[in-house]
C-alpha cells in the first residue's frame, strides 16, 4: 500500500517537478521560499514519529514495486532512520533558508539549483528510510548523481567540472561495489530486506560469501563517506556553492556511508575483520584528515579535510562499538558506549559543521575571498559571524562547554576501553587507537584555531579584499545561529537527545543486546571525575596551543610529502595513464587495415576449432564408407590444384582471372562426374558471368595496376592460412567419417514424384519441398541487383570519398 510515509519520502521529488514552473511563473519571489516549505513540513512530520521509535517500535509500510524479484519499496522508520531523517530535513530547511540569501535571484539559475537540491533530499530520505537493499541502492545512486549536478552547478568553471567528475567516479565506483555486496547478501539469505537479513545474521557469518559481501559493501560505504584513501573527492567537491557544501558534504551525503555501516552492523559486526577494518580505516582517516587540514589555506579546504577527519572519527567509534556484540548483556558492557558516542557525535558534527560552512560562506560572500592568507581582523566588523565561527570551532576542537567536548570525551573513553578488549589482537595492537586518536585531536585543535583566529584576529588586510567587508544580512545569519544555538543547548542539556533520539538509534544498531522491554542507558554529562579522558583532553589543549603558536617552526613537515606522492596525483595519473593506455591498446590492434582484421578472424577461427578438436579428441578417420577413386577424379584434382597454384604465384591479374575461370569450370566438370547436371549447368553459366565481370572490373577500374606485386613470403600469413586449411580439412574428414544417423535423402527419392509430381528431385526440392529458401535466395539476388544499380547510378558528388 502506498502510505503517507512513502509520500513523505518522495515528496521532494514531486516538489522538484514544480520548481522550474514556480521559477518561471513567479519571478518576483525568490524560488527558495517555496522550496523551504518542503523540508520544514517533512521535519515536523518526522518529529511525530519520535514517540513510536522511542518505545523501540518501528513504523513500516510496504509498497510492492517488482514483487517477482523481491524488490519492494518498504519504508522502515526506526531510531536510526529517524535520526538521519530529522538531520536531513532539519538541516535541509536551514540550508534552503540560508541559500535564499546566499544565491542571487538575478544572477543564478535558481530553478536548477533547487531541483537538484530537492532531488538530493528525496534520495537521501530514501536511502535512510528504505528497508529494501535494491531500493536503497537506487536512492544511493540518485544521491551520487544529484551531488554530481550540484557540485558542477557553476558548470562554466573548469574546477567545478573536475570536482564533480572526481566525486562521481569515486562514489559510483563504491556504489557498484555495494550493489555487488547486496547481491552477495541476497544469494546467502534470499531476501533483499535489511531487517530480514539482520534476523538471519547468524547463518551469514558462517557462509563462504560473508567476507566478500562485507568487503564490497564497506568499499561502498568508505567511498561515499570519504574515508582514507577515497577521501580525495571531498576537498575538490568544495567547488560547489556553499549551501551545497554545508548540506551534502558535511551533514548528509557523506553520512550515508556511516548510515550504511551502522545499519549493517548487526549483520557483520560479530567478525573481527569488521572491527579492525571499520575502526582501523576510521582512525586512519581521522588522523590523515586532521593532519591534512592544517596545511590548507582555503577555508573550505580546511572544512573539507575536517569533515573527512570527523567522519573517520564517527566510523572508528562505530567499529569499536562492534566489540559490544561479544558480550551478552548491556550491563557492564564497556563497548556499548562507543556506539552512543558515535551517534552523539554524528548529531553534533552535523550541527557545528553546518554552521561553520555557512559561516565560511558568509565570509566569502562579504569579503570576496576564502583564502586565510588574505583574511584577518574581521572580529570587530563581523561580530555575529565571529561568534558563530568561535562556537562552531571550539565545539569542533572539543572544548567545554560545547557539545563537541562531550562527544570527544566519549570518543576518548571508547578508544581507551578498546585496549581492554581481549579478542582479535586488540590487546596488543589496540593501544594504537587511543594514541592515534590523541594525536589527531591535537591537529583538530590546531586547525580549529586556525579557522577562528586567522580569519577574525590579527590585522585587517584591506588591500587584498575585493569588497569592503561588512556584517551579513540577518536572513543569512539566521540558519547558522539556529545551528550554533543547538551546539550550546546540546552542550548544556545533552540528555534532551538521550532517550528520544540516541537510545532508539542504538537499539537499531545493537538489536541483539536488548532483552524484552529493556532500554539502553544513555547518560551524557560534563564531569567524569579525574580520569584518563580528561587528562587526554587537557593534553590536547596544551599541546595544541603550543603547536599553534609555534606553527612557523614545524610547518616544514608538510614539505616532506611531495605533491607527486599524494593520492590526488595517483588519481590524476590513473585517469591519464588509463586513457593513454587504452588509446594505445586500441591503436595497436584497430589500425584500420582489413588484412589485420582478417588475420585476427582467421587465427581465432583456426585456434578455436583446433583447440576444441584437440581437447575433445574429435578427430576420426573411417575409410569404410569411402567410394573408390577413379581416373577422372584424379585428373580433375590435378587440374584444380594446378590452377590454384598458378593463381597463387602469378603476377599478372589477367592470368589470375583466367586461373579462376579454369578452377570454376573444373568444379563444373566435377559436378558432371558426380552426376549433378543442374549444378553443372548453373556452375558453367555463373562461372562465365563472374569471369566476365572480373574482366570488366579489370579493364574499367583505373586505380588497379595491371600487374601484382610478386608474392612475398610471410611466415605469419603462411602459418595462419595453413592452419585454416588444415582445420577445415580435418573437420571435413572427421565429419565424413562419423555419420551419426541416416541421411533424409531417401524421403526425397521416394516422394518427389508421388507427392510433388516431379521427376527432377533437385528442382522439386528447390521449388516445392524447400521453396522458402529459394524465395529468399531470389530476394537476395534482387537486393544485389538493386545494390549494384544504386552504387553505380546514385553516386552523388563527394560520396566517392566515403
Amino acid at each position: 500500500m502506498f502510505t503517507a510515509l512513502h509520500l513523505a519520502i518522495i515528496a521532494p521529488f514531486i516538489a522538484a517537478v514544480f520548481v522550474p514552473l514556480l521559477y518561471k511563473k513567479i519571478p518576483s519571489i525568490h524560488t527558495g521560499w517555496f522550496v523551504l516549505f518542503v523540508p520544514a513540513i517533512l521535519f515536523i512530520y518526522f518529529l511525530q514519529h519520535i514517540p513510536t521509535t522511542s518505545q523501540e517500535g518501528a513504523v513500516t509500510a510496504a509498497f510492492p514495486w517488482v514483487p517477482s524479484l523481491g524488490i519492494n519499496f518498504r519504508a522502515y522508520v526506526d531510531g536510526l532512520g529517524l535520526l538521519f531523517a530529522l538531520l536531513i530535513t532539519g538541516i535541509g530547511a536551514l540550508v534552503v533558508l540560508y541559500s535564499i540569501y546566499y544565491l542571487s535571484k538575478k544572477r543564478e539559475s535558481l530553478h536548477t539549483f533547487y531541483t537538484f537540491l530537492l532531488m538530493f533530499m528525496g534520495a537521501m530520505l530514501g536511502v535512510v528510510l528504505s528497508d529494501n537493499m535494491i531500493v536503497l541502492y537506487l536512492f544511493w545512486e540518485i544521491t551520487s548523481v544529484s551531488s554530481f549536478l550540484l557540485i558542477s552547478y557553476w558548470y562554466e568553471r573548469e574546477k567545478s567540472l573536475y570536482g564533480a567528475l572526481k566525486s562521481m567516479l569515486i562514489t559510483v565506483l563504491g556504489g557498484f561495489s555495494m550493489l555487488v555486496g547486496f547481491v552477495l547478501l541476497y544469494s546467502i539469505t534470499g531476501t533483499f530486506s535489511i531487517q530480514e537479513t539482520i534476523a538471519s545474521s547468524s547463518e551469514i557469518v558462517s557462509h563462504d560469501l560473508f567476507l566478500p559481501a562485507m568487503l564490497t559493501i564497506l568499499l561502498g560505504a568508505f567511498t561515499k563517506s570519504a574515508q582514507f584513501p577515497f577521501h580525495i573527492w571531498l576537498p575538490d567537491a568544495m567547488e560547489a556553492p556553499t549551501p551545497v557544501s554545508a548540506y551534502l558534504h558535511s551533514a548528509t551525503m557523506v553520512k550515508a556511508g556511516i548510515y550504511l555501516v551502522a545499519r549493517l552492523t548487526p549483520v557483520f559486526a560479530v567478525s573481527g575483520e569488521w572491527l579492525w577494518l571499520v575502526a582501523g580505516f576510521g582512525i586512519t582517516t581521522l588522523f590523515w584528515g586532521s593532519f591534512s587540514a592544517v596545511r590548507q589555506t582555503d577555508l573550505k579546504g580546511i572544512l573539507a579535510y575536517s569533515t573527512v577527519s570527523q567522519l573517520g572519527m564517527i566510523l572508528s567509534m562505530l567499529g569499536v562499538g562492534a566489540a559490544a556484540f561479544h558480550f551478552q548483556e548491556i550491563d557492564n558492557n564497556l563497548f556499548v558506549g562507543a556506539t552512543t558516542a558515535a551517534l552523539f557525535h554524528l548529531f553534533n558534527h552535523a550541527t557545528f559543521k553546518g554552521s561553520l560552512f555557512m559561516m565560511v560562506g558568509i565570509v566569502d560572500h562579504e569579503t570576496g575571498t576564502r583564502d586565510i592568507r588574505n583574511l584577518g581582523g574581521l572580529m570587530t566588523i563581523m561580530p555575529i559571524t565571529f561568534t558563530i565561527a568561535a562556537i562552531g570551532s571550539f565545539s569542533m576542537a572539543g572544548l567545554p562547554p560545547f557539545n563537541g567536548f562531550l562527544s570527544k570525551e566519549l570518543f576518548f573513553t571508547s578508544m581507551v576501553n578498546i585496549t581492554e578488549f581481549q579478542q582479535f589482537n586488540m590487546e596488543t595492537f589496540g593501544i594504537l587507537f587511543p594514541v592515534v586518536a590523541w594525536i589527531a585531536s591535537v591537529f583538530t585543535f590546531i586547525y580549529s584555531m586556525i579557522l577562528v583566529f586567522k580569519t577574525f584576529a590579527g590585522p585587517l588586510q584591506k588591500e587584498k579584499l575585493d569588497t569592503k567587508p561588512h556584517e551579513a544580512p540577518f536572513g543569512m545569519l539566521l540558519a547558522p545561529i539556529v545551528l550554533v544555538s543547538l551546539v550550546i543547548v546540546i552542550g548544556f542539556f545533552p540528555n534532551v537527545l538521550s532517550y528520544t533520539i540516541i537510545a532508539p538509534a542504538m537499539a537499531s544498531i545493537l538489536p541483539s543486546l536488548l532483552q524484552e522491554g529493556q532500554q539502553f542507558e544513555v547518560d551524557i554529562y560534563f564531569w567524569h571525575d579525574w580520569n584518563t579522558e580528561l587528562f587526554m583532553t587537557m593534553g590536547v589543549v596544551a599541546a595544541g596551543i603550543l603547536l599553534y603558536l609555534g606553527m612557523k617552526k614545524w610547518k616544514g613537515v608538510y614539505k616532506l610529502f611531495p605533491e607527486k606522492l599524494s593520492f590526488n596525483n595517483l588519481y590524476d595519473q590513473t585517469l591519464n595513464k588509463g586513457e593513454v593506455l587504452s588509446q594505445k591498446v586500441m591503436a595497436s590492434h584497430m589500425n584500420g587495415f582489413i588484412r589485420n582484421y582478417l588475420v585476427y578472424i582467421f587465427a581465432f577461427v583456426a585456434a578455436a576449432l583446433l583447440i576444441t578438436m584437440f581437447y575433445k579428441g574429435a578427430f576420426v578417420i573411417d575409410t569404410s564408407g569411402m567410394a573408390p577413386i577413379t581416373i577422372y577424379e584424379s585428373v580433375l584434382v590435378v587440374v584444380l590444384v594446378a590452377s590454384v597454384g598458378v593463381m597463387m604465384f602469378t603476377t599478372s591479374r589477367l592470368t589470375l582471372i583466367i586461373g579462376l575461370g579454369v578452377a570454376g569450370y573444373t568444379v563444373a566438370l566435377f559436378f558432371v562426374i558426380f552426376r549433378a547436371p543442374d549444378l553443372a549447368l548453373t556452375q558453367l553459366i555463373i562461372e562465365t558471368v563472374s569471369v566476365a565481370l572480373f574482366l570488366l572490373c579489370f579493364y574499367h577500374l583505373p586505380q588497379i595496376a595491371k600487374n601484382l606485386e610478386p608474392l612475398r613470403f610471410k611466415a605469419g600469413n603462411f602459418i595462419i592460412s595453413a592452419a585454416v586449411g588444415i582445420t577445415v580439412t580435418l573437420i571435413g574428414i572427421s565429419a565424413g567419417s562419423s555419420r551419426m544417423f541416416e541421411s533424409i535423402s531417401g524421403f526425397f527419392k521416394e516422394y518427389s514424384y508421388k507427392e510433388a509430381g516431379g521427376r527432377n528431385m533437385v528442382n522439386v526440392i528447390l521449388v516445392d519441398f524447400r521453396g522458402f529458401d529459394t524465395m529468399l535466395e531470389i530476394l537476395v539476388l534482387g537486393i544485389a541487383a538493386a545494390g549494384i544499380f544504386t552504387m553505380i547510378r546514385l553516386r552523388l558528388a563527394g560520396r566517392d570519398e566515403l
Binding site: 509430381g757 521427376r759 534482387g782
Partner: protein, 140 residues
C-alpha cells in the same frame, strides 16, 4: 573506328532464337529433367547478352523497351504471390500441388503450381542479370 560486324550480327540473329528456345525448353523441362527457372533464366539472359555484344546498348533497349528492375520486382511478386495463394485454400505458406489435365490438342498434361513459382524465379534471374549488365555497361 566503326567496324563491320555483319557476320556476328547475322549469326546472332539466328542463334538468339535457338538459345531462347533452348532456355524455354530448360525452363519447362525443369520438373522432370535437369533445368528449371534458374538455369532457364540464365540462359535467356545469355541470349540477350549475345544481342548486347552484337549490337549495342541503345539498340537492345529499342528492341526490348523493358525496365529489367521491374522484371525483378515482378518475379519476386509472383514468387511470393504463389506462397500467399496457398492461404486461399487453407494451406500453409508455399504449399504446392499438381494434377493431370486433358487438353484438346496436347493430350494429357501435368500442371503443377510449382511452375508458377518457377516463373517467379525465372523472371528474377533474367531481371537481375540484365540490370547488372546494363548498369555496368552504361557506366562510362
Amino acid at each position: 573506328m566503326k567496324s563491320n560486324d555483319v557476320i556476328l550480327q547475322t549469326v546472332a540473329n539466328i542463334v538468339l532464337f535457338i538459345i531462347l528456345m533452348f532456355s524455354v525448353f530448360l525452363f519447362f523441362n525443369g520438373h522432370h529433367e535437369p533445368g528449371g527457372g534458374f538455369i532457364g533464366g540464365l540462359m535467356t539472359s545469355s541470349a540477350l547478352v549475345l544481342l548486347l555484344l552484337a549490337y549495342d546498348l541503345e539498340t537492345v533497349k529499342r528492341i526490348l523497351p523493358v525496365d529489367f528492375k521491374l522484371v525483378t520486382a515482378a518475379g519476386l511478386l509472383v514468387a511470393v504471390g504463389t506462397g500467399m495463394g496457398s492461404f486461399f485454400f487453407g494451406a500453409p505458406f508455399l504449399s504446392q500441388t499438381y494434377d493431370y489435365f486433358h487438353f484438346p490438342v496436347l493430350g494429357e498434361l501435368e500442371l503443377a503450381t510449382a511452375l508458377i513459382f518457377d516463373v517467379g524465379v525465372y523472371l528474377v534471374v533474367v531481371g537481375i542479370t540484365l540490370t547488372i549488365i546494363q548498369t555496368i555497361g552504361e557506366d562510362r
